[in-house]
């Protein structure tokens, strides 16, 4: 085969960011190659499980009618966990339907999305690991996989949190532990009817639960539980740095989490069919490499576009929006015949003008705020104590609510401390 073959764009990684970029480029008539190292898109990928639908809706309107999404979330719960108790805030609202979110399982969902890119005309090559970028005088010219070299006007690095491409191109160093969290997840199979009964759901609707407190032993992070059609995704995300001097291993914490009296009945009788671990970028703007280079754009997790607000992890909707923005920048660059950093710079501008970088800025203080151990350590206990005293009737003479709450607050760090944290929290999130 001739070595002359070249593409307008090569997209590395068929996760949500890469597949959407390839889809948009192919739809605009560009010659696109989408390279994925897994034998099928999604085969190696994991996520907690909830896709906020807004950004994919923009690219493929009404996508959930055809996409293999699991359930539409109608019930949101945040729970503060202590060893044996739980205080939950439970919200059911028709308004969630206005900006729907869906639970997804990656192997099905990613295959579908990459399939859309293929249908639109992109060339998909699976089972191929890209080893490095080809560069000439600093400009990216293409990619190398094993002995094969392939040229393109522009490469889009959508290769996820560990982006080898960004590292090898000296755009980003190794990720420091404080900029990543470790996520682990189990998929637990249960009959559909059982899930619907336990979570009060109908055939298509689903529940999302987020947990703070004992599930991470007070370490910075949280737990999640999402309902799929016939399984439950359950796991923890904890800042990697916390494990540096911790005795706990995250696997053990997951086991404990599953045994918690609140969780155990929800997964009773289920069978663990999948266990996976993955990193989550969470350095926010602080870790973000520069995203436009000569002949190269960086999107999704590779660009650090993830929001970890303590009670939710959002990455897929940002990945999708960044994939679309990168594609638009490449289309514009092609029209102008300029693939330099300058020619591709509309990508950066588009991100700045969209929710992607705006939300990243809004939550920029969140990582620092979350490092405060009281949030994950003390406050769940405080919540419990206050709520228990509110609901308990034990024959002792009742205290005015105000008084019992103050007692609890004092025990958990004092009012000033609480007020300070609340203030910081309000400003950070």
């Amino acid at each position: 085969m001739s070595t002359e073959e070249r593409f307008d764009a090569i997209v590395v990684g068929a996760g949500p960011a890469g597949s959407v970029a390839a889809y948009c480029l192919a739809k605009a008539g560009l010659e696109v190659l989408l390279v994925e190292r897994g034998n099928a898109p999604g085969s190696k990928n994991m996520t907690g499980g909830r896709l906020y639908g807004h950004s994919l809706e923009k690219v493929i309107p009404g996508f959930w009618e055809e996409a293999p999404v699991e359930r539409r979330i109608v019930n949101e719960t945040i729970t503060f966990l202590t060893g044996e108790s739980a205080v939950s805030l439970d919200v059911k609202s028709k308004q969630f339907a206005q900006a729907p979110s869906f639970t997804v399982l990656r192997s099905e969902f990613d295959s579908w999305l990459a399939g859309k890119a293929e249908e639109a005309g992109a060339m998909l090559a699976c089972g191929v690991r890209v080893d490095e970028l080809l560069r000439q005088e600093g400009k990216v010219m293409g990619i190398r996989s094993d002995e094969d070299e392939m040229l393109a006007d522009v490469v889009i690095a959508a290769d996820g949190v560990n982006s080898i491409l960004a590292q090898k191109a000296d755009i980003r160093g190794e990720l420091p532990a404080k900029h990543v969290a470790t996520g682990v997840k189990e998929v637990i199979e249960l009959p559909r009817q059982v899930i619907e009964d336990r979570f009060h759901l109908t055939e298509q609707t689903g529940a999302a639960q987020l947990f703070v407190g004992e599930c991470t032993r007070g370490m910075q992070g949280g737990g999640f539980l999402y309902t799929n059609h016939e399984s439950i995704s359950l796991g923890l995300v904890i800042t990697a740095e916390e494990f540096a001097d911790a005795e706990e291993r995250i696997v053990d914490l997951v086991e404990e989490f599953k045994m918690h009296p609140l969780i155990q009945p929800l997964i009773e009788g289920g069978q663990v069919v999948e266990y996976s671990a993955h990193l989550v970028p969470e350095g926010g703007l602080n870790m973000m490499p520069s995203l436009c280079h000569d002949g190269l754009l960086i999107v999704g997790d590779a660009a650090g576009l993830v929001l970890n607000t303590g009670y939710m992890v959002r990455g897929m909707d940002l990945a999708i929006a960044s994939g679309e923005a990168a594609a638009n920048a490449v289309i514009a660059a092609k029209a102008g015949g300029d693939f330099s950093k300058q020619g591709l710079s509309s990508y950066q501008t588009a991100l700045e003008n969209s929710f992607v970088l705006q939300d990243m800025k809004t939550y920029a203080k969140a990582p620092k705020f979350m490092e405060n151990h009281r949030i994950f350590g003390n406050y769940p206990g405080l919540m419990e104590e206050m709520m228990v005293s509110l609901f308990s009737v034990n024959g002792n003479s009742a205290q005015p609510v105000r008084k019992s709450m103050l007692t609890s607050i004092k025990r958990h760090g004092g009012f000033m401390q609480l007020a300070k944290d609340a203030w910081k929290g309000m400003r950070a999130v």
């Binding site: 085969m1 073959e5 190659l33 390279v35 099928a40 192997s107 099905e108 060339m123 090559a125 699976c126 089972g127 191929v128 996989s145 094993d146 002995e147 094969d148 392939m150 069978q271 069919v273």
Partner: protein, 257 residues
């Protein structure tokens, strides 16, 4: 030399689950793949061509879903693929499959060698290659571990239970290959890209002059159930020394040591 390498698109056994109570196989989430030993057949064909020139045609018969296999097959080196598509293939038995393949081979016309895997990784009936040779009226060599072709003569090593038999056969012939014959390649980026440009011929039963009535499977599958491994569930407790003693006693009783 013109080689036809046959393959079957099967469910990936790694994705199969067994429902605990009924032992029913759950195939809902299973992906498909080219049957393992058929990859050896494809690889064998491509290696022979690399040595002595010619081309390999990949041949498969399957339901519509098998279309996804073509790019994968072509990225493994064949010059062209032939796909016989019909929904009856979901219910076929080895006799039906062999009939369909024989018709496709006749449609292809000239050939020197037909390669098949010894058995498919789903049903492993080890019949298709042999029946195919019978229908085409050509010799068949099974359990093949090594091949060499020179001047229209194929020399094959057959790996049998008791030893190795070397045979020689005048081509054309059918050869069914074993898994340790070679290591199938992992297609490279360029091979995958090249595959997308290779010709694919899609055929149907009518086009092959086959009549549905002759293609009713005589062997009908009634059920497929997972096997369950019975565990004895014996637990040993105590000091290490005692436990070892107890384990030995039990193993001894079972005739295992």
């Amino acid at each position: 030399m013109k080689i036809i390498a046959c393959y079957k698109w099967v469910l990936d056994e790694a994705d199969l689950k067994v429902e605990a109570q009924s032992r029913r196989l759950l195939t809902g989430r299973a992906k498909s793949k080219i049957s393992e030993y058929d990859r050896n057949a494809l690889e064998c064909g491509v290696q022979l061509i690399d040595e002595s020139g010619g081309e390999v045609i990949a041949l498969t018969a399957g339901t519509g879903g098998a279309k996804s296999s073509l790019k994968d097959a072509l990225s493994r080196g064949p010059a062209e693929a032939v796909f016989v598509k019909d929904e009856i293939m979901a219910q076929s038995d080895p006799a039906v499959t062999a009939k369909v393949l024989a018709a496709a081979v006749r449609h292809i016309g000239e050939y020197d060698l037909i390669l098949c895997g010894e058995g498919s990784s789903d049903e492993y009936s080890e019949q298709v290659g042999i029946r195919l040779a019978q229908l085409l009226g050509i010799p068949v060599v099974s359990f093949v571990n090594k091949v060499q072709v020179a001047d229209g003569v194929l020399r094959a090593e057959r790996k049998l239970d008791g030893g190795i038999e070397v045979v020689q056969v005048q081509l054309p012939a059918v050869v069914t290959v074993l898994p340790d014959m070679n290591t199938p390649r992992i297609p490279s980026l360029k091979q995958i890209l090249a595959a997308a440009k290779k010709p694919v011929k899609e055929l149907n039963l009518a086009g092959l002059g086959l009549d549905q009535a002759q293609l009713t499977a005589k062997v009908r599958r009634q059920t497929v159930l997972g096997t369950v491994m019975e565990r004895k569930g014996i637990r040993f407790r105590g000091e290490a020394r005692e436990v070892v003693q107890q384990v030995l006693t039990v193993l001894n009783k079972e005739g295992l040591c």
